[in-house]
Assembly symmetry: C2
Homo-oligomer: 331 residues x 2
């Protein structure tokens, strides 16, 4: 079985985005009307087609990351928007339970304690069967005004994540800062930044079972693995494998074979989770290979792994990191 732990509903039907426009414009957005057929059409043409073409089985599916827009409006707006997005993900996963498992957006808001996310997290996990969430380390949208992820600011949410056995993917939303292109700089920078924040913190001493997935192959971390090992060592921290790799995992959204080969060489196979982020940041075909840049399964298959290691990346590790998925699959 091949499970992709990182897919967003980037192709959601137009009424969702129109609802959001009305909400942001300060109008009463009214009820969201989307038929099951509309949902089916957006998926059949896109994510389900791609699953079939690439031979993957199931995607951990969350709302479009760039549209979380925690920086827009206030916490109430963020909450109403998160509910709509999460409810839609729930419908997707109810329509196609063997193709998608639900991951939720959190109603974060700049300057607001993430404690405010707990009711929506509990609703998603306990009532709707969600198995994970996306946590935005920069709800200000490119201005980086939140405390680092090791700060106690985040602890109330972490306590709940631990209690619910829900891992968080560290994922920013769009960037309002013209310095940062959103998928080309902001996303990758956030991944790198989060990992360094973990190095600086004692987070996993306080929360030994808390789990984070750093997407996009861990940002720059595997490429600079020597730098991070050396910085941690200079700071008197334990070796990174002991210090962080019980709690931090990397996905495989790296869009060329040499990058994937590096990831597999430096990061223990137990810490790597298959993902492609379809339909996502890069949509074209690589003229050098004739295949889609984001067809990451090809890179994994070409990397010369043993069958046992491939199985870990494609499904074994995911089942361990996302215990609620495992129970859902068993149940």
């Amino acid at each position: 079985m091949i499970i992709d732990c990182h897919g967003h509903y980037t192709t959601a039907p137009a009424p969702l985005w129109e609802w959001r426009k009305r909400q942001v414009a300060g109008q009463d957005p009214g009820p969201l009307r989307i038929s099951d057929d509309e949902i089916r059409e957006t998926l059949e043409k896109n994510q389900l087609r791609i699953q079939r073409e690439r031979g993957t089985d199931l995607t951990f599916f969350s709302p479009r990351a760039g549209s979380m827009e925690h920086h827009v409006g206030d916490a109430r707006m963020s909450e109403a928007w998160s509910r709509q997005c999460n409810d839609l993900i729930h419908r997707v996963c109810s329509l196609y339970p063997s193709n998608f498992a639900p991951v939720c957006q959190l109603p974060q808001s700049p300057g607001v304690s993430p404690e405010n996310c707990i009711p929506e997290l509990e609703r998603c996990v306990q009532e709707l069967g969600f198995i994970g969430c996306n946590l935005n380390p920069d709800p200000s949208g490119g201005w980086w005004q939140a405390p680092p992820l090791g700060d106690r600011f985040w602890y109330p949410l972490y306590e709940k994540l631990v209690e619910l056995e829900v891992p968080a993917m560290v994922h920013v939303s769009s960037s309002c800062n013209p310095a940062f292109h959103f998928t080309g700089a902001h996303y990758i920078n956030a991944d790198t930044t989060a990992f360094m924040q973990f190095i600086q913190s004692d987070l996993f001493r306080d929360f030994p079972t808390l789990k984070f997935v750093i997407p996009h192959g861990g940002g720059s971390v595997p490429y600079h693995w020597g730098r991070y090992r050396g910085l941690a060592q200079d700071m008197g921290k334990p070796p990174l494998k002991e210090f962080l790799l019980q709690n931090v995992f990397f996905d495989t959204c790296v869009y060329h074979l040499p990058g994937i080969e590096l990831l597999l060489k430096v990061i223990p196979v137990e810490n790597i989770l298959f993902a492609s982020e379809i339909v996502g940041a890069v949509r074209g075909v690589d003229p050098d290979t004739g295949h889609y840049y984001d067809d990451t399964r090809r890179y994994i298959d070409a990397a010369g792994l043993t069958a046992a290691d491939r199985e870990k990346i494609y499904s074994g590790n995911l089942r361990r990191v996302y215990p609620r998925f495992e129970r859902r699959a068993a149940g």
Copy 2:
């Protein structure tokens, strides 16, 4: 000959930092008194010792990046501080002309047009023989308030760089933003951000001979080379090799062999410049190899390059990118 294009005077004598403290405190900092012997001692114990131990010949040497602190005080303070730092670099290079070539700090200041840097740049290059400069894409020190590098905001400075035939290394200073550890996140993020800003711009159509060096192995760029190729392609830009690689170069400050191997695999050898950033971000010995993390020569030597390619990385490319170094060496 082995030339290191990226070294900072991190070990400068204490009176420099004391001068700076007085300046920042708003006192009259008075004259800077450092003897030639004090300079010699800081270098003999550190950079010169390391050059000898590692068998490298010459370092492009600039003021400590983390201390440029463009965000502290105003443009006048930045200018006075830059002059002190650059004068000290000039003294180093006059004392050891076969070991160091000078690269200057620019008196940038948040919100101030970089046109203000031209007099100090001209002084360094035309009067003192400097061969390059460090350009900070974020003079606000981690808050990223400057326009992207493709913006016309930067053009007056670029015109002068082109006229003087001086390349710029894109190098941020320290981070005031608690989200960003300076050497572990801010530096690497800045490298990634700058490259994406270049992809978004038409800078090199306007300045076909302008040259930038992106340090720290290009941030995350080589690891995500497929992503950057794909993003550029989706944006309708030419292939990256044609579009940017006449103008953008990467150094080799990547502190483990697999990272260097990736860099060499995806980036054309003509675009790679040897560097180690001694004495810099990572100071320890890698217990896995028994050698210093930042002993990047070992990785290059171990990477299975032809002698001709090694020569390009160790000196040929640097001579091409830094024409004033070539003339200085010949003169």
